[in-house]
């Protein structure tokens, strides 16, 4: 439905978006995930028509939108701090977009009531928006964006201003509402947990471009680069060099030899010997090394910290060169004790340098 092709945009002379392309399909929630300042919000503003790209096009069902002004695009945008109209009541805020469509008053009333019911604010219509709590304001903003039945809903860090418990609760509600209304949506966030929870498809934004796209599980399984793995908080990173690829890939690191999983999504031909790579050591799956002979995928260190996590323990292991690696273990070692762990091959992933 929506197609964004090769968008370029700079901010204060520095390139911000460098040829971003992606598309949104009917009923799909696409999540733009990136660090702050990565241009996520700017993409939304360009799609909404609030800003013009320096190059590239925004297409809706094949139609170029560059000559369509903001107010005729029929998209919904939920602003980061909601941008509720302070001089209007809750109901008047929600009715705004409907009034712009010149609907009959009775129709407006019905739709406002429906929208407020959808976000569980039935009784709030006559309140002043300035009297609402953060979570209530967020719901009003959502109702206001949904009421005109937009062709596309864009949400700019919709939960960014809320505290953690409220965020989790609203995230669930938001997912249900998006599923129920079947409105195609673009969700912008810098929080990978939020992104994994809400998106049908996830776009990872880095240095002005989409570096990885896929369903959340796929992205989790196969991060495209060391940066992606680190940004997504997938685990420990370890520098190394490939020593052989046949019959099995082996990487030499400062902690010893590793035999990682190596199918690279962008490089079906695999790696070459001598290539510098980064290993991702996943925190879960590590086992105590009972077999003193096992030399591969073996990590030795000293326990630096142990934290109880309910389903197990988070163990920080001090290895060579003062580096600390983090693992989740079923049993608690004591602090200061030496510890040897072995990682199964599925828990070690070989990531190429960009």
């Amino acid at each position: 439905m929506l197609q964004v092709t090769d968008i370029w945009k700079s901010y204060e002379g520095k390139p911000l978006l460098c040829g971003v392309s992606f598309s949104v399909d009917p009923g799909e929630t696409v999540c733009l995930l990136g660090a702050s300042g990565s241009g996520k919000s700017t993409i939304l503003r360009i799609i909404a028509g609030l800003e013009m790209p320096e190059a590239g096009r925004v297409l809706w069902r094949g139609e170029d939108l560059s000559s369509v002004p903001v107010y005729q695009r029929q998209f919904g945008l939920m602003f980061q701090d909601y941008a509720l109209f302070p001089h209007r009541s809750v109901a008047e805020n929600v009715a705004f977009g409907l009034r712009m469509q010149r609907l009959a008053q009775s129709e407006i009333d019905t739709r406002v009531r429906e929208a407020l019911e959808l976000v569980n604010l039935d009784a709030f219509g006559q309140r002043r928006v300035t009297d609402l709590s953060g979570g209530e304001q967020q719901r009003v903003a959502l109702a206001r964006a949904l009421a005109p039945r937009p062709r596309l809903l864009m949400l700019d860090e919709p939960l960014g201003a809320l505290d953690r418990t409220l965020r989790e609760q609203l995230l669930d509600e938001l997912r249900q509402i998006l599923r129920r209304t079947q409105v195609p949506a673009i969700y912008v966030t810098h929080d990978q947990e939020e992104a994994f929870a809400i998106s049908d498809r996830l776009l990872l934004l880095h240095e002005g471009d989409v570096v990885q796209a896929g369903i959340p599980a796929e992205v989790y399984e196969r991060p495209v680069s060391a940066w992606a793995a680190q940004f997504l908080g997938l685990g420990n990173l370890l520098e190394g060099r490939i020593v052989s690829t046949n019959p099995i890939t082996e990487v030499e690191t400062a902690l010893g030899p590793f035999q990682p999983l190596c199918s690279h999504p962008n490089r079906p031909d695999g790696h070459r010997p001598g290539e510098e790579v980064t290993l991702l050591l996943r925190p879960s799956g590590a086992l105590a090394a009972n077999d003193p002979q096992a030399a591969v995928n073996r990590i030795e260190g000293e326990v630096a910290d142990v934290v109880f996590r309910g389903d197990g323990f988070r163990v920080d292991l001090k290895v060579l060169k003062g580096q600390e690696l983090r693992f989740y273990l079923g049993q608690a070692p004591s602090v200061g004790q030496p510890l040897s762990l072995v990682l199964p091959r599925e828990s070690v992933l070989c990531l190429g340098k960009e």
Partner: protein, 568 residues
């Protein structure tokens, strides 16, 4: 327990009352007594001989005052609102300089403004003399002086800054995403402006319009000097009746009308400005401004910037330039007209050519002004400090006394001058012999500003700071010196400069109070300006230039101090 609490409350009230004593006494003697006299004279003597002729004599200036104030306000909004938008939303080269320039007219003495427009557009002004020379004309082609146009122009010059400050401030604080949200929801640019921007700005637009109207309504010097005798407002009519016709009852009646009007306006203004709440953009002002893009936007920006520069700078530049330009026959020579730069007008300021007892050389007027300004500073700052400290006490009487102290703000200077004449006419407080009355009148004008600037600064010091200093070992005196003083120093300096410049430029009350042999600088400028002869004209402009430079320097200093609450 209850007794103890009651005692404590009583002691708070008593402390506040003690602090209030001197300022209150001052206000009673020098503000309410003269005002009461105006009421008495106006109601008893003025109204008793009220006939059809008198009613007409009040009605005509009253109607004209309303008319010109309304027109002036409308024009000021017309210029000020686009300028406010420009400052609130756009970045352009020279923005800082332009912002400072717009704040200069506000405090400029009326005689300086009048002299400036005279030097630019008057019959002997730069434009007319230049055009006459260029086109070989026998008389000045531009006859703006002594017309309604001149009054309106000067009022726009004066008050545009109020609109820029108040509306521009609200506008730059307005979250631009509100308008964007409206647009995304289907509102066109114009619709979004009408539905979102305008309703949110309306309170500040109304408040600024009321304030501009109030200032235009009570404007005196500009109307007297630029409008000429045909355009008498209430203020000018009071002046004419009191000082030229010596008809004090009539003047009292006019003052009464004036007082009631300004009182109503002041009350309405404080009501209107009290409710201003603008949603402030979370990302700060800088994120809301941008450079103009596109040809149309850039063109409009430049037209606005150049228009503002022309309006604000050209009269002042003309004044300074004309004061060093010789355009007439030099003294003692006939026929031959000489052109060129000269410092003659400035040199003349120091010479008493006429050897007349009543002629006062300008340099003495300048000295008088400086002395009066110094006394004004001392009076208004010491009383202002007392009042500001009193206002910080949680006493109940503050609720009554606070608005009382703001009253002089809405009272016209001419009314004040008339009140002084009515009351202080026998020793020891005699206008003719007691020289302190002029700085006292000036202090009344300056006091509300001083209190309003000191009070928030004093209130901004959290008691915890003082307590922290005390815990760290500072004695009470040391605490005041180390904590209070450095924090309020800037505010105190700002109000001192303000009181000083107000006194230097005050014209309305001074015309009533200054004795012929002790004129102030503005009074001297007024005298020289209304006398014939190139030398008198040049000297008037030279004095006005000096006054302009001194007061502008004062404003620039205040701007540099960046006081909380702004300079308005």
């Amino acid at each position: 327990m209850r007794l103890a609490r009651g005692l404590r409350a009583w002691s708070v009230e008593r402390q506040a009352l003690l602090l209030w004593a001197a300022p209150l006494f001052f206000l009673l003697i020098f503000f309410f007594w003269p005002l009461g006299a105006i009421f008495r004279v106006g109601l008893v003597e003025g109204a008793s001989q009220l006939g059809l002729e008198q009613v007409a004599r009040v009605w005509r200036p009253f109607a004209f005052t309303l008319y010109q104030a309304f027109l002036s306000t409308l024009l000021t909004l017309l210029v000020g609102l686009p300028a406010a938008y420009l400052f609130a939303r756009y970045e352009f080269p020279g923005k800082r300089v332009l912002r400072v320039l717009t704040s200069i007219p506000f405090i400029l003495p009326t005689v300086v403004v009048a002299a400036s427009f005279n030097a630019l557009l008057g019959p002997r002004g730069l434009l007319n003399v230049g055009l006459m020379e260029l086109l070989g004309l026998g008389e000045p082609p531009i006859r703006l002086l002594n017309s309604l146009g001149a009054i309106l122009l000067a009022h726009v010059f004066y008050n545009t800054t109020i609109v820029i400050r108040m509306v521009g401030g609200a506008w730059s604080g307005l979250d631009p995403r509100l308008v964007q949200a409206a647009q995304v929801l289907g509102a066109s640019r114009w619709r979004a402006f009408r539905e979102v921007t305008l309703p949110l700005l309306l309170p500040s637009i109304l408040a600024s319009a009321l304030l501009v109207f109030l200032f235009d309504f009570t404007s005196f010097g500009v109307v007297l000097l630029l409008g000429g005798p045909r355009y008498a407002t209430l203020e000018v009519e009071i002046y004419i009746q009191a000082l030229h016709m010596l008809n004090l009852p009539m003047a009292g009646l006019l003052s009464l009308v004036q007082l009631l009007c300004t009182l109503v306006l002041t009350v309405v203004y404080s009501r209107a400005s009290g409710g201003i709440v603008v949603p402030v953009a979370p990302r700060g002002e800088a994120a809301n401004t941008r450079r103009p893009t596109g040809r149309v936007e850039r063109l409009i920006t430049w037209i606005l910037v150049l228009g503002l520069l022309l309006l604000l700078v050209s009269p002042l530049a003309a004044l300074a330039l004309r004061s060093v330009t010789r355009l007439d026959a030099a003294r003692g020579e006939r026929g031959e007209v000489q052109y060129g730069l000269t410092t003659q007008y400035y040199q003349e300021l120091f010479i008493n050519r006429r050897q007349s007892l009543f002629y006062v050389p300008p340099i003495e007027a300048a000295r008088n002004s400086l002395v009066y300004a110094g006394v004004t500073l001392a009076i208004s700052l010491s009383l202002g400090f007392l009042a500001a400290y009193a206002l910080l006490r949680p006493a109940r009487i503050n609720r009554w006394l606070d608005p009382l102290f703001m009253l002089p703000l809405g009272t016209s200077a001419v009314t004040l001058g008339l009140g002084f004449i009515l009351v202080f006419n026998r020793p020891p407080l005699d206008v003719r012999s007691f020289p302190l009355l002029i700085p006292i009148a000036h202090s009344l004008v300056a006091l509300p500003f001083v209190v309003r600037s000191l009070q928030p600064a004093l209130g901004s010091i959290p008691n915890q700071l003082r307590q922290a200093a005390a815990v760290l070992g500072a004695s009470p005196l040391r605490v005041w010196r180390e904590i209070d003083l450095p924090i309020i120093a800037r505010a105190a300096l700002g109000s001192a400069i303000f009181a000083f410049t107000i006194s230097l430029g005050e014209f309305g009350a001074t015309t009533f109070l200054a004795r012929p042999e002790y004129p102030t600088l503005p009074v001297a400028i007024f005298r020289f300006l209304s006398q014939p002869g190139a030398l008198n004209y040049g000297q008037a402009l030279a004095m006005a230039t000096i006054l302009m430079l001194v007061t502008s320097a004062g404003i620039l200093l205040i701007e540099r101090l960046e006081l909380p609450g702004g300079s308005l």
